[in-house]
């Protein structure tokens, strides 16, 4: 949950920060596109 994720044009965030306090649908893809 503390894994740091890189977001284009934004500051990095931990996964916990991304999903906390929100119901979330998280989709892992093999590659973008």
């Amino acid at each position: 949950m503390e894994v740091v994720l890189q977001r284009p044009f934004h500051e990095d965030q931990t996964f916990k920060e991304v999903i906390e306090n929100k119901k979330s649908l998280v989709v892992f893809v093999r590659h973008p596109g």
Binding site: M1, V3, L5, Q6, R7, P8, F9, D12, Q13, F15, K16, V18, I19, E20, N21, K22, K23, S24, L25, V26, V27, F28, V29, R30, H31, P32, G33
Partner: protein, 138 residues
């Protein structure tokens, strides 16, 4: 996903996409293919993938599937015609771990897992209809 964004978010869920990419690559990608209505994040070391059980598939299995797709649809099945999009997709195929398993997860506000589906093969995605059914259950 992009086409059914409103239907999905009308359930009260935010949509988060995780890719095995760097933020710098994603910046180029979003400029070429975007904009996207949802947030896209990069996990280039695939730490989140592995901590949640998404494994790298056996290469021969994936290549066999890719070969079938190539026979069926030719390179158009994989490679866009737009030059910038084509360059980025080809770069991703060379630089990304395209053998990593994808998957779909639902979390509540506290970060508890409500439901998940880890793809066993590239075509083994949870369908949008299935995801919507699971979202409405929780």
């Amino acid at each position: 996903m992009r086409e059914r964004y409103e239907e999905l978010t009308s359930t009260g869920y935010q949509i988060v996409i995780i890719t095995p990419s760097t933020g710098a690559y994603l910046e180029q990608f979003v400029q070429a293919f975007g904009p996207y209505p949802y947030s896209v994040y990069g996990d280039p070391k695939r730490e989140l993938y592995s901590s949640m059980g998404h494994l790298t598939m056996q290469k021969w299995k994936l290549l066999a599937k890719a070969g079938k797709g190539l026979l069926k649809g030719g390179t158009k099945a994989f490679i866009p015609e737009d030059p910038e999009q084509k360059r980025l997709v080809q770069k991703a195929m060379k630089t990304h771990d395209i053998y990593i398993q994808g998957g779909t997860w639902l979390f509540d506000e506290e970060g508890n897992i409500l439901w998940n589906h880890i793809d066993t093969m590239p075509e083994d995605h949870a369908s949008i209809d299935t995801i919507l059914i699971e979202m409405k259950k929780h």
